[in-house]
């Protein structure tokens, strides 16, 4: 996407970029190409390159809103800290490990996840209506949001980039088995695949199958086996699985 030079972002460029973006946003697309005047930044991965002036434009917006006393920087810090450091897939892993070890909890979780999960007292707002769907030997569940990026924030935190990306969103509904293969999950032909497209207020989390060979393990040990991807439905778990994702 970036084709421009590595020069310092001049005032003029900053202004034209911001104006073009604003114009594009309100539906005037004629001048949108001006917003492509950008340079590439390395973030250690290739699929999310960023024009340099976005950082300046965000800073400009925050300054204006702070000056108008509409937001406090510390308020933003607290919101970010919650999802960067406190709420994430470890929440979901705790829920899964308990469901594996406590049949009564599992029954309540599948019946009414919001109430069952309230017992954990996770931090953050709980505006979600969560539905937990269970993987079984002959049923595999997969979660997607084809229209946007809906995701169970309170148990999994914020979604990874691939979940919000066009390749996953476009294909998960029409070719779930192909998507799963890409993630290294091979399903037998007789396994039923259920794809859950998060279009309304309900959010979905997959209860993965408890891996074989884990009979003697404690709830805390089991929790360590549960990956984020298994709760989206793009991974199956093994007793030896090291937790490879956040």
């Amino acid at each position: 996407m970036a084709k421009d030079e590595q020069d310092a972002v001049g005032r003029r460029k900053f202004l034209s970029g911001a104006a073009a973006t604003a114009a594009a946003m309100v539906g005037n697309t004629d001048d949108a190409s001006a917003g492509q005047d950008s340079e590439e930044q390395e973030h250690g991965h290739e699929h999310q390159t960023v024009p340099a002036d976005i950082a300046l434009r965000v800073k400009a917006l925050e300054s204006v809103l702070v000056e108008k006393k509409m937001v406090e920087p510390s308020e933003l810090d607290a919101i970010v800290d919650l999802y960067e450091n406190k709420v994430g897939p470890r929440n979901g892993a705790r829920v899964v490990a308990r469901a594996w070890t406590d049949p009564e909890f599992k029954r309540r979780l599948l019946e009414s996840a919001d109430e069952a999960i309230a017992e954990f007292g996770f931090e953050g707002p709980h505006q979600e209506h969560l539905l937990v769907v269970e993987n079984e030997p002959n049923v595999h569940n997969l979660v997607v949001c084809t229209l946007c990026s809906c995701y169970p924030w309170s148990t999994l935190g914020l979604p990874p980039v691939w979940y919000k990306s066009a390749p996953y969103r476009s294909r998960a509904v029409i070719d779930p088995r192909g998507v799963l293969e890409e993630f290294g999950v091979e399903l037998d032909a007789d396994v039923e695949v259920r794809v859950w497209d998060s279009t309304a207020e309900q959010r979905y989390m997959v209860l993965p199958e408890r891996p074989p060979g884990t009979d003697g393990m404690s709830e805390a040990e089991l929790e360590e086996l549960v990956s984020r991807d298994s709760m989206i439905g793009v991974a199956k778990l093994e007793a030896s699985t090291a937790r490879g994702d956040a």
Binding site: R57, E84, L147, C148, K164, Y168
Partner: protein, 213 residues
């Protein structure tokens, strides 16, 4: 709207690219965009209030596919603040407020029903076949294109929720409260021979999207 965002079932988007040990945010500006989005919604109450999903979907298609997720959020954020009259383009350009005057904060509308009227009864039963109406609204809708005209089975009644759809300018259509259903579609009903014989897709649908078979 029949926009690029409504991409369920499309080919040609390329392989899924994953990042090992992906951080929650990739840059400080992404953190600020996320925080600003969450912190500013209350200010649009009582003003021209365009839906945030509408604002993302209104990004021109070629831009939508080019820019990153949080760039879309920044676009959406500025659209909403501009439309609400809370900031001006001059302020966004200069990074300086034209006035230090704090705008008036209006009370948030309740998302619950305040009319005192009982919830409407669901029109469709669990297990009942339905057809998705062939709707092509110009505004925001939660009805994915790939389901339109298709026949599914009501899997569950999910309770009463306000409709989230907007008009073509992003303004709520009134949030009419109605039953939302989880509808199960056989994969072959949606995708013909490309669908797995035993596979299915579950989609939540407001009652307005459905008609009896």
């Amino acid at each position: 709207m029949n926009g690029i965002h409504d991409m369920g079932g499309m080919d040609g988007m390329g392989p899924i690219e994953r990042e090992a040990n992906e951080p929650v945010f990739h840059a400080e500006w992404e953190r600020r965009v996320y925080g600003l989005m969450r912190a500013t919604g209350r200010w649009t109450v009582g003003r021209t209030r365009v839906g945030f999903r509408w604002a993302i979907e209104s990004i021109p298609a070629k831009e939508y596919l080019r820019i990153s997720y949080y760039e879309k959020w920044f676009a959406m954020l500025t659209t909403r603040l501009l439309r609400a009259g809370l900031v001006t383009e001059e302020e966004l350009d200069s990074g300086q407020a034209a006035t230090g005057q704090r705008p008036r904060l209006y009370a948030r509308e309740s998302s619950e029903d305040v009319s005192g009227e009982p919830d409407p009864s669901p029109r469709f039963r669990e297990g009942e076949p339905i057809r998705v109406r062939n709707l092509h609204p110009r505004g925001h809708t939660r009805l994915p294109r790939y389901t339109r005209g298709k026949i599914g089975i009501v899997f569950k009644q999910r309770g009463v929720f306000g409709l989230q759809d907007t008009d073509e300018h992003g303004i709520s259509l009134g949030g009419r409260r109605q039953e939302v259903y989880t509808v199960r579609f056989g994969a072959q009903e949606l995708w013909g021979e490309r669908g797995g014989t035993s596979d299915s897709v579950y989609v939540e649908m407001w009652e307005d999207y459905l008609e009896p078979v």
